[in-house]
């Protein structure tokens, strides 16, 4: 009898809360189902279909689109270039951007001089519109820098950093690393703030200060955050545009897969051009998924532990 009463009270309470929770979550879940699951499922199916522009008829074409996508990805020079640039751009942002983001985060976490200003400056690009940031950066790179060089080094006319094909890639990468600091610094410094002060004090007593503290205490403690960033970065190798469209529209001489796909989809004259692009997307997924899982496994296996 007592047990039944308890269940009954619990059931009433639970039911109302569940109803409320469902009502609240229904809309976002529906959005997720439609705009993520259905869209991606449709994209996968699209790779096996063809679409007639005139009649709207959809027919199954087996692996024809995949064959064409494979041919393009292995033979078209611009796609070979895009593959190379996708990995190169990721590698550059990983090798240069990640250590610097960790360093800046540690600096802010330790509340060293001007850390407040750093926090604002590094996060500013994330707040300001991307187009505005790109425009400011373009003017700085292509007008201000040549002007400075001319005044400092002499009368010769210098090309802008983006204008000059020799410096263009590096300049775009610099921009991407710079604007990427905001989110990374925020996440890392928040993770660092969650470290127990007792542990830090104990480490200090053992002589772990400065860089030693970072290596033996801070980094292991924020390792889950770091590995999340690392893993999601690998997953986006083929979707990251690196702001190329903001810089160059559809005429970028630097191509990554993320940029190429965006330009192709945006510029498609009809839906009949989507299936091959969807097939390219499948191949990129086939590359990205195992790579991401391998990286995850490696990070779990070889990363530092809290112990």
């Amino acid at each position: 009898m007592r047990a039944a009463k308890k269940t009954s009270r619990l059931g009433v309470f639970h039911r109302k809360d569940i109803l409320f929770y469902c009502a609240l979550m229904a809309y976002p879940v529906l959005q997720f189902v439609i705009f993520y699951i259905v869209v991606n499922a449709n994209s996968i199916l699209l790779a096996f279909r063809s679409y007639d522009t005139m009649t709207g008829a959809v027919t199954w074409v087996g692996f024809a689109n995949l064959k064409e996508a494979f041919r393009m990805m292995t033979q078209q020079l611009e796609l070979l270039d895009a593959m190379k640039n996708s990995f190169l751009a990721y590698f550059v942002t990983l090798v240069i951007g990640t250590p610097l983001a960790l360093l800046f985060s540690f600096y802010i976490y330790k509340e060293l001089p001007a850390s407040g200003i750093f926090r604002v400056l590094l996060f500013m690009p994330s707040i300001v519109s991307a187009i505005v940031m790109v425009t400011i950066f373009q003017f700085f790179s292509d007008r201000a820098v040549p002007e400075i060089f001319t005044k400092v080094f002499g009368a010769e006319t210098y090309q802008g950093l983006i204008e000059n094909p020799q410096t263009r890639f590096g300049t775009v990468m610099f921009y991407n690393i710079f604007v990427g600091f905001g989110t990374a610094t925020l996440m890392y410094s928040n993770a660092m703030d969650a470290i127990s002060p007792d542990q830090v004090d104990a480490a200090k007593l053992e002589g772990a200060v400065g860089i030693r503290e970072f290596v033996y205490i801070t980094f292991p403690m924020i390792y889950p955050t770091f590995s999340t960033f690392f893993i999601t970065g690998v997953a986006t190798i083929f979707t990251n545009q690196y702001n190329l469209y903001s810089f160059f529209g559809d005429g970028s001489s630097i191509q990554t897969y993320g940029y190429w796909l965006y330009v192709k989809v945006a510029g498609a004259a009809s839906q009949s051009e989507y299936p091959v692009l969807a097939a390219v997307g499948i191949f990129l997924t086939v590359i990205a998924v195992p790579l991401t899982l391998i990286v995850k496994k490696l990070l779990e296996k070889f990363g530092p532990s809290e112990d």
């Binding site: 709207g56 078209q76 810089f247 009809s270």
Partner: protein, 569 residues
Amino acid sequence: MKGRILTCLLCAAIAAASCLSAASCGPQQRPGEEAVDPNRTQIYVYNFYGGYGSDWLAAAKTRFEEKHKDDTNWEEGKQGVQVIIRNKKDAVMGISSQILANTEEVYFTEYAYYYTLLGEGVLGDITGGVTDPLSEYGETRSIADKLSAEQRSYFGVAEEDGTHYYGLPHYAGYSGLIYNIDLFDEEGFYFAKTPSDNTRDGRFIDQYNTEKSAGPDGVEGTFDDGLPATYEEFFTLCDYIADSGTVPVIWNGEDYWHYLNNLVQALQADYEGLDQTMLNYTLNGEAETLATLSGDTVTLDAPAAIDESNAYELARQAGKYYGLSFLEQLIQNDNYHNSLAFNTTFSFLNAQEDFLYGGHDGQTKPAAMLCDGVWWEMEAKETFDAMVSQRGEAYSKYNRNFGFMPLPKATEAEVEQAAAASEAGEAPYTLYDGIYSMCFMKANVAEWKKPLILDFIRFVHTDQSLVEFTTVTNTLKAFDYTIEGEDYDALTPFGQSLVRLKDASDVVYPFSTNQTYIQNQSFFGTHEQFRSNAGRGYQFPALAMHDDNVTAAQYFAGMADYYEKNWIV
């Protein structure tokens, strides 16, 4: 209890905020838009607000509303018609899924793929409006009669009960070189009919030698006299201009690959002529200009039958090589162009400003030619207005002489051919209109309103409206109509030059009803015709030549390779 009430209020607020996204549907007045008059029947018009502006549409609207001001037959209790113009910059292909739900009923837009929109079911049938003579406006021709054969073939869809029209062209979008006639006149940048001596400078007119050469059409006494007839003369002119301290050609650095691609496309079309250029879209016919390169020597192959299976061979059309060779010379010699020609911060508006202010503001170098489209005068409106308010009416576009330059021919032989064509009453020039402009009515217009909208479409395609479009914008509609007398005199000098050149030209509209073309339209798009496997692979020759010093010959060879390997059939 309080917590629950607060939670419910919060949920209600979130739900209300979510519903706001649906609140923008329906005919509502937007900021800056004319208020809807509840006593009149509205027609909603979508106008792509690009270089051509909307003044032309405002002028047509005024006359149309006047014509219908006493109508009471459209909606009960209402008298008259109101045309609501919505100026937007959304590309129509990006909003095609919204057209049927949108309020706008008539669209004037560009870069519109007709058969794609038709296949998506967004285009309304306007056949009756297009094929019936415009007799109520005192005309004997129909709108269809004002189309070229290529346009009728493209826009006219063969159905069981005859040909149906679901769209019409809109404005003409030629690109090329705009030249500063005042500067040319002042500095004598014209070739003399008879050189004074054997030097470079002796080839140009001077105070003693004033008779101009025949120009690219090879005929004396025409509007192109004195202009460079061949590519060789053009670059001799550029050297001459550069030595005088003037910039020969100016273009924007922000988007130079597109603008220079347009120029190469224009040069190619002018070399190839209408029929040979159209092979690239019809994929059927005989190619007469396929070329093999040996060093710089171009040898034309024997004519070859072209069909869908081998149309990739058209990448070897000689006109494409000649256009590339022109571009190579223009890009590789820094004396021929402005210093910011490849600088991403130098926009098309900056280029137009420098072109207009050059030599007049004490700091900007004068520029002889601007690489741009025929819409440039409308885009530069603010600069013209600023110059007028600063310096007086002498600087208005009506008092400054600019011209749309007839492009030089690749070789002397081409000039002779042009002269022969002129004498035979044929066009010595070919223009390329790659802007895919379109006017259409959406498919789900209310039945009762269709006659009104069809009348509006007919109204804006009367000769009077077509001429009005030209007098307002100083550009052309992509139709056959005549501008003469007072209407011609009312144009700016640039507008007049455009009319003269159009009258002397065939026009390429780069589309066809070939099924392969229709199913793969962006493969044949304006900026897809010059892809190359040279070097690391390029879409735009200007990028290849500027970034990696790829030569025209290398690029041309790479084009043949690219299209053979990536042909879509």
